[in-house]
Amino acid sequence: MNTPPPTAHVEFDRQDTLLRVHCSGTWDWNSPQPALPDASAWAGLTRVALSADEGGDPDGALLAWLLGLCRVAAGHALSIDTAGLPSGPQKLLALALAVPPQTDHPDDPNPGFFESLGKISLHVWSDLPLALAFTGEVVQGLGRMLRGKARFRRRELFWLIEANGPRALPIASLISFLVGTILAYMGAVQLAQFGAQIYIADLVAIGMVREIGALMTGVILAGRTGAAYAAQIGTMQVNEEVDALRTLGISPIDHLVLPRLLALVLMVPLLTLYAGVVGIIAGMLIATTVFGVGLREYLHETVLALSWTHILIGMFKGTVYGALVAFSGCWRGMQCGRSAQAVGEATTSAVVTSILLITVSASVLTIVFQRLRW
């Protein structure tokens, strides 16, 4: 009785222009696979005849090896005879070879560092005209809105105002309170060295109302609202809802982007003001309970420190950041591809773009207002 060898085994028998390949033994993925003949072995051949013992391929390893062999043989324009194979592998091999492999390969999924860097650079560069085109469309939409020609559902605008205003208050309160606390502590430790704790009030009031209130509100909204905008519009892209608008001749800019932009531009100045007030309250608690500043003195110093200019600049900055968040969220959403992964990427990209734009604009605005001595 013939017992099959315990491991995969291949015999190559060359007869003039015919190569006979006989596979025996038990083929499984845990054992080493025999090597394919090297390139020189194929020269002068016209045909390959495959054969194998019955039952030696419990988990498809033999089939995979034969498929690899057939691909190489096909690459050398050899005819392949599978008649000697057991019927199972023979049929599966015929099925696997029925359609030639795709030769137009997509990009290498594991590119090198420089290739990745180049691709990212090209991607960022190609984003620029798209961003400009989207900006142009939004400006045109704003023009239509000012002329009363842009139409969107008022109910959706109110819903967006509620979602991005009142519903953002808890997180805005928490973050602003903590930032006010940090600001007061950091300032107080330094100021206490000169016995000037009272100026904590100035530091916190001007810092929160003019700069940090708006900045933190912008960052909160980037994570909360910008991401939501990108996900909402991105999902609409996936579900062809944006296409449905376009085919009706309804502008997605008017219908989707303008109400979102308007909702944030209306709500962010108020949120900024609110964040400033919460920050001042936090600073006041720290100054009065930890550093011994009197409540009345603190409030008096706060009122002296603040001017309408600080308040208006803070609200203006908040409005700019809000507009940038809405722009980034809607832009990335409109750019979204048509898969769940693309929605995730659009969301991430919206947050990153928002924070980048907020940071750049914060720097520019701070320098501009300082130069103007406002």
Binding site: M236, E241, D243, A244, T247, L248, G249
Partner: protein
């Protein structure tokens, strides 16, 4: 013979340098139920996107009557779009709106009808697709088949001359698919609507279509046009093979 309602001439569709189909030329006549057919990945839905103004052709033209869609101004394109309704593959209902609001949106945008009139139209359109009483449901609250019918009600809101369907039977059980076929025939017979379908559901093709174009993925162009029943008998081998589900010719 009357002039065609849709006329496609020398159309080439491409993504960057990758040509999907080239040299497509065919006509759709008023009252036709016209099927765009072909194997998976041959560019059927892409052709539909070119017809409904979502994708600009690389070359060639798509005309509605005498109007070349892609040569028209954006405003004129929007006017032309109001002549057709589109049923997307998954319905594409606006998820934040109820079914009634979905149907109402085009009416509110493009007509000066009173609220009462719009309400009556919504009720009629939803009843026509078997969704009477579902006015206040959101898309997430109804089944896939119902979504498609609601989307059809929305597509019919402005009484379009032409209705485009992208894979209307995809994901539907045979009975729902049959009901949709009957609805398509009724729309054509009772309203005279011209219907353009993208599908590879053979029962639907033979049940409803009287004209078609067959796109071939290998040659990247159309290889036949005409009545599918005639093509099944006398068309090119590839088309006959497709229409007989690969049975020996």
């Amino acid at each position: 013979m009357t002039s065609p309602i849709i006329s496609v001439r020398n159309l080439t569709m491409a993504y960057s340098d990758n040509v999907i189909q080239h040299d497509l030329s065919f006509d759709v006549q008023q009252g036709d139920i016209f099927v765009i057919m072909g194997g998976s990945g041959c560019g059927k839905s892409t052709l539909l996107r070119h017809l409904i103004g979502l994708q600009r052709p690389a070359t060639g033209s798509v005309s509605y009557g005498q109007d070349d869609f892609w040569a028209a101004s954006p405003d004129a394109q929007d006017q032309l779009k109001r002549r057709f309704g589109v049923l997307f593959q998954a319905g594409a209902l606006w998820s934040s709106l109820t079914l009634a609001e979905n149907v109402a949106l085009p009416l509110e945008e493009f007509t000066a009808l009173s609220r009462e009139a719009i309400r009556a139209i919504i009720a009629t359109k939803l009843a026509l697709v078997g969704l009477a009483g579902f006015e206040n449901y959101y898309p997430a609250e109804i089944s896939g088949g119902m979504k498609k019918r609601a989307a059809l009600a929305r597509a019919m809101a402005l009484n379009p001359d032409i209705l485009f369907f992208d894979e209307p039977s995809a994901g539907l059980d045979p009975l729902s698919s049959r009901r949709l076929d009957d609805l398509i025939l009724q729309l054509r017979d009772s309203l005279g609507t011209t219907i353009v379908l993208v599908t590879h559901e053979l029962p639907s093709i033979f049940a409803v279509a009287n004209n078609s174009v067959f796109l071939d993925a290998d040659t990247k162009t159309m290889i036949a046009t005409g009545d599918p029943k005639t093509l099944a008998q006398h068309g090119p081998d590839g088309v006959r093979s497709f229409l007989s589900r690969g049975e020996p010719l």
